[in-house]
Symmetry: C2
Subunit: 478 residues, 2 copies
Amino acid sequence: MAKQKKMVDEITSMDVDFAKWYTDVVKKAELASYSNVRGCMVIRPYGTALWENIRNELDRRFKETGHENVMMPLFIPESLLQKEKDHVEGFAPEVAWITHGGEEKLTERLCVRPTSETLFCDHYSEIIHSYRDLPKLYNQWCSVVRWEKTTRPFLRTMEFFWQEGHTMHETAEEAIEETQRMLNVYSDFAENFLAIPVVKGLKTDKEKFAGAESTYTIEALMHDGKALQSGTSHYFGDGFSKAFDIEFTGRDNKLQYPHQTSWGMSSRIIGAIIMTHGDDNGLVLPPAVAPLQVAILPIAMHKEGVLEKANELAQKLSKTFRVKVDDSDNSAGWKFAEYEMKGVPLRLEIGPKDIENNQCVLVRRDNREKTFVALDELEVKVAELLQEVHNGLYEKALNRREEMTYSVTNLDEMIEKAENRPGFIKAMWCGELACEEKLKEVAGVTSRCIPFEQEKIADTCVCCGKPAKHMLYWGKAY
Amino acid sequence: MAKQKKMVDEITSMDVDFAKWYTDVVKKAELASYSNVRGCMVIRPYGTALWENIRNELDRRFKETGHENVMMPLFIPESLLQKEKDHVEGFAPEVAWITHGGEEKLTERLCVRPTSETLFCDHYSEIIHSYRDLPKLYNQWCSVVRWEKTTRPFLRTMEFFWQEGHTMHETAEEAIEETQRMLNVYSDFAENFLAIPVVKGLKTDKEKFAGAESTYTIEALMHDGKALQSGTSHYFGDGFSKAFDIEFTGRDNKLQYPHQTSWGMSSRIIGAIIMTHGDDNGLVLPPAVAPLQVAILPIAMHKEGVLEKANELAQKLSKTFRVKVDDSDNSAGWKFAEYEMKGVPLRLEIGPKDIENNQCVLVRRDNREKTFVALDELEVKVAELLQEVHNGLYEKALNRREEMTYSVTNLDEMIEKAENRPGFIKAMWCGELACEEKLKEVAGVTSRCIPFEQEKIADTCVCCGKPAKHMLYWGKAY
């Protein structure tokens, strides 16, 4: 297919400057804008609607799997944050500290929550007494704050939005099962709702969450060949339970510590949507999450009956789809560019000629394919095309990921690929931290995950040549 | 009607200690619990579900009236908070200050937002340029923080949950219209969704919001005769616009300042639900907002077919209502008390005898009325009874408010009523701050509002005897 003509001049081309392309899209599609608060975004109506669709669908899936929402405090007293050693070491350097309330200096500093394990554990210690109180399957939707040095909209901001699930279980087995269940919720959501293919696996000890025994992750590959960690699920064992004195009387009438998990997906995922599906004309939204699924554009609007017909179609379609008629006095060209920029999956054009022929035109955002549709078949055809857009986006992203995934067996190859071929690099690993650190130093890559689907690429570690334990995905990451 | 037997012994009776009754209900109905963070609550699953129902219904009404959601930063730099003089004076004494990010001391302090006028204005100054950009009808759902000295769950907490609408308009008329429209959304929501009758009116200058030109309010009367301000809507004129340099080119091609409103309803409203409808057996929830509308209790559960029938009814009812079968091995008495405590509007009992007769029993939470219902008519009857519960709660609350509303014409009467008759006190006022302050000092009452529905109780001010300007509602308030 020939390179398509770029309709919108204001945004930088991906190939010229990917980072600039990204921020241009965020701004021009009106997802977010910078605020006068360093590292914090204003998420604009279109971005908020996107996040609400993500939230509603994930929330539905969480409730379907038996979870309940709660709302925990925004603040954590310093002494509470310090209760679990690994956890405080991981987070203390990057929290915002409150030292004064009104005029009064506080006797103990409070931090703005960077994550809420400590608050949940504090609460669980109050309400868990017997095995009958288990499992506790809680989640919360909120924002958290981490004092980041450099920030980028959605990808890395001081304040970001997320959900954090925190669950407590009678046994380790049950908790591990929950950790995996929620990872599957995330991967299914990413693939079937957002059309983003992901690799599922386990983080290495170096990359796991502060305080966790193991961290599972879904990793997606962006257009520029960088990886984006898109959702994580942690198994904590009973480390926090011990630190927070959470004990319950078991079925055997003995006191024991419950086993814990936590899992989260954040507004970063909006960055993943942009960088997986977007193109040089702007955003391309997967239909399931798009705030607007069909933009209806009346052509020659002043002609009798055109606007009426457009509104009639909108009325009919709005029972099943998110639609809008644009009856503004902007030019047709402006409108085309606008809805392309905003990534609306389908554009519906209807003019006097179409009305005569009892038809309209549907144009796909992802590949610009035009279809003439009889008005009697409109609803069926819109549903079909939205499904095709979803499938098309998923396949395109999967093909790109496959093209950008390389296997290497020695250090020279690793360095060469890391330097010249952005993407996932599959390579064997001995399991030693030293090799992980060396690969970061010499090739600039980090381990993304130990994928559940293992392949044997070689017998020996790509770095030290000793016997290999696992095949890993490596790469540069956001 | 004879005083009903109290089924649950653990909670304090309202008449004995209303404040203790309130906190008992919050705790025993598992709405919220205290946390180890001073003045912050843990909102438990049942309380969160209640808030989500409030949020979803209000959000639907906001969207229906053309509003869009956005998400603003959590923090406000000190210099931004200081831009509008009255506003900073009102809020600076009660904000939480962040002075450090990680190890680093900040060059400028940030406060945790106590409300977001300044953030919205900062953003509006970036995006409003022409009359074509107006109106801007934004809302956000979030939590805010005010450094309160004494706190009570839902009623007054350091962190609380709310929505804040912030809108910008071409003209003063349009902005005032919006202020009133949103007040009407609140009063309609309070009365028709929460079954809480409210008085609508204007706040006096003393009681209005910091920085506003005028504040409209809905005031509800609690069981103990104290008032609760349940929602407010503010008209700002162009004061903030000037302070924040928000200018637009008008239809006349001249630069002008837009006119602003803001409006909010908070998690306090959960306190209003508790204290308007609750009784000595616990919570009583209006059906529209109840997380669980029908608790289905199989009687003699071990008998063949009982549990199956209960589940079958649940299946059928769940298409329209929020229902749950309690098949736990707790006693029937325990279950009755539990769902009474949680204020579930209807209890459905079904046992072997009922199944034989193709019927079940529905028991209303509000008045304990029992109805035998043929299973074929169940859905219709449940809908009817839920509507009756709603109507019954509203009428009961309205009657109580009318019984507890007094008119007074001189200071002695005012003092006597304020001391001995908790409730609303209607009295004339000259419009002078001095009288408002004196009434607070000698009678302990504050002005609740200048109601839209004025009555002429006397010609002269209840305090100074000079000619009266308005009839006001006065009272003690939460």
